[in-house]
């Protein structure tokens, strides 16, 4: 079946979503990332892999962390990086996404890193490049609507593999606002593809998408039940605007029922790790004592994120 992420040789052409990527490719990305973690420890933190390539960071939505880590990753591979903050640029003048793409292609772009508020926007770009015969240009999805955030999902997998070595015996819990979370969707796709036997999702019914149980996960509403004996706890960010309204009564109540505290974490396995994609709402989804505690691997996630993004860019730019 046609897969817009792969070329005719079955190799990665674009990174749009982890849903639909074969396990071999996910593993290859993680394997490629491993040696890149060492680059950061060198005196000269640069490799010549993407020398002469132009990478456009196309951010239609604000982001500091993701954009910065993509920029660092590209620069460590010696690429030229151009940051476009489109929310203050041409689309306000009415230019369409595809017009923007065409213009940047005319400036000899080699790769796009795109974040967009609408699910599927990177697919539209990839399809447009295919239809216009520009197979040498690659798209990396840096987050689209509620759909996917594949590099976040990959860096999470890298982190889990780093601390737990093997995926096939793990119980992993994802906690919080799954409904609006592109991170959760990418995590679920990756965990199920990599063979994690028990993926649990925990949260109120208002924040669970329809048909979640058909995505290979077990749904829990009681956090204590859901955390029992898990090896990994992945917290999700709760957006401020969703804390009080039709979905939830308040941030305080959310914290009381679904916030991660030391007391609830004690129900997980003693060696369980705690992850968060950031930025954290301390006192809403996670207590500071846990966020700064011995089981948290939240800052290593950020560091691994650079290596994983280097891996993706180098694999796409190898041609």
């Amino acid at each position: 079946m046609y897969n817009p992420q792969l070329n005719s040789h079955g190799e990665l052409q674009h990174l749009l979503s982890l849903d639909g990527l074969p396990r071999e490719i996910l593993t290859a990305i993680l394997d490629t990332a491993a040696p890149f973690t060492e680059v950061a420890e060198r005196e000269v933190k640069k490799l010549p892999i993407l020398r002469g390539k132009s990478i456009f960071n196309l951010f239609f939505e604000n982001s500091t962390r993701t954009r910065t880590t993509f920029e660092i990753a590209a620069k460590r591979l010696s690429a030229d990086v151009i940051n476009l903050n489109i929310s203050t640029s041409s689309t306000n003048k009415g230019e369409t996404l595809l017009d923007t793409v065409d213009n940047l292609c005319a400036m000899q772009a080699d790769m796009f890193v795109v974040r967009h508020a609408s699910s599927g926007a990177p697919y539209l770009m990839a399809e447009h490049l295919r239809a216009t015969g520009r197979d040498d240009i690659h798209v990396i999805n840096a987050g689209d609507g509620r759909h996917a955030h594949p590099t976040q999902g990959l860096l999470d997998m890298y982190t889990i593999r780093h601390y737990k070595q093997d995926f096939t015996g793990l119980a992993v819990a994802i906690v919080g606002d799954v409904l609006h979370s592109r991170v959760a969707r990418s995590q679920i796709a990756a965990l199920t593809t990599l063979g994690v036997p028990e993926v649990r999702v925990i949260g109120p019914k208002t924040l669970m998408p329809t048909g979640l149980d058909k995505m290979g996960v077990r749904v829990f509403h009681d956090m204590r039940e859901g955390l029992k004996d898990v090896d990994v706890v992945m917290m999700l960010r709760l957006q401020n605007e969703r804390m009080a309204g039709p979905l939830l009564p308040s941030g305080q109540e959310f914290f009381k029922v679904w916030g991660l505290t030391a007391e609830k974490l004690a129900l997980a396995r003693p060696d369980a790790i705690v992850m968060h994609p950031g930025p954290m709402n301390r006192g809403v989804e996670i207590d500071s004592a846990v966020a700064d505690g011995a089981q948290a691997v939240i800052l290593p996630q950020v560091t691994f994120g650079i290596a994983v993004r280097m891996a993706v860019m180098s694999m796409l730019g190898r041609g």
Binding site: S118, S119, G120, Y123, L124, E127, H147, G211
Partner: protein
Amino acid sequence: MNIHIANGRLVDPAHEIDRPADLFIADGKVAAIGTRPDGFAADTTIEASGLVVCPGLVDLAARLREPGFEYLATLDSEMEAAMAGGVTSLAIPPDTDPPLDEPGLVEMLCYRAKLLNKAHIYPVGALTERLEGKRLSEMAELVDAGCVAFSQANVPIDDPQVLFCALQYAATFGFRVWLQPITPRFAREGVAHDGEVASRLGLPGIPTAAETMALFTYIELARLTGASLHITRLSSAEGLELVRRARAEGLDITCDVSINHLHLCDMDIGYFDANCRLCPPLRSQRDRDALRAGLASGEVDALCSNHTPVDDDAKQIPFSEAEAGATGLELLLPLTLKWGHAHKLSLCDTLRRITIAPARIIGSKAGQLAAGARADVCIFDPAGETTVTRTQLRSQGKNTPFLGHNLPGRVCYTLVEGKVMFSPA
């Protein structure tokens, strides 16, 4: 002008006719079927051996985009499409700009259509002024101007008291009210059926309950007011079940589905195909199968194209930002035949859903071929194929989920009031 359509297979669902028979047309009317009338001398003979001769098709929902959206399509372009599709009678939803809420607008539209002299149009007037759901439109005047029914198109009335009064008022005159079952505030951000596919793709969902809750309200108000309803564009198995029960109870309710919902489901969105961004949304496979079966059993009265030309600028953007709609006039016959084949229905039963059944809902004498009837005729090759491509489509709207498909059946001739308006190039 006398026309002799010779050696065709005549199919007229209104009279349960399916047999080889010649059709004789004089003065824009059917002069005779089978036997040449005394003294009939044909000016033109159309050789129809191997072809099906049936009534011109009747479509319950064709947006021609005039007035107000002429950049998307014009009466001219869409009438061309109708002729190429064998569609000779079109019901026009009121969501033009301004909406069809004034007799003058309706008269102008009818006048413009008459000048073009192609398909007959049947405007459906706005149920409320500017479709705002606040003040009733002048229904009696609008009917005098040419409206055949009243509707809110895709903009349902939010206030149940206004809807109640609108139905009461329409029932006063016996006007049928066409309602699309949507609970607008239950689907505010939604762009796709709230199910596994939308969840996976991260697309905000429109729950089936947005349809069923509206139907509960409509049916209860029909019960209270005695209004005749036509439910447009059913999309779910649950919705169909509610309509079925209301009819069993004896309420005067008819319903239709669109060609897209008859053949597609949410899985067809694939990788965010904006051509599948439709209103109502494509629902699950189970829903689609229920609608197909319902149309076959007669629980769904009619099939329509829900023709909605949308331009590329509104489709070549991310799925959730794309405008809902697809072109359909030229696909109505092929997609009806495709469904009929799959359900092993006779040609008569198949064509009924796009001829006499919709004509009855409009309250028109169109959609049949009795002697003395208006000679609106569609002649098609049942063994031929229609290939859906952007260049083949005459409609200004080039977007449909069926682009690239080969569909059964090919329209050869379209006659309106005894004039050949479409013929092989």
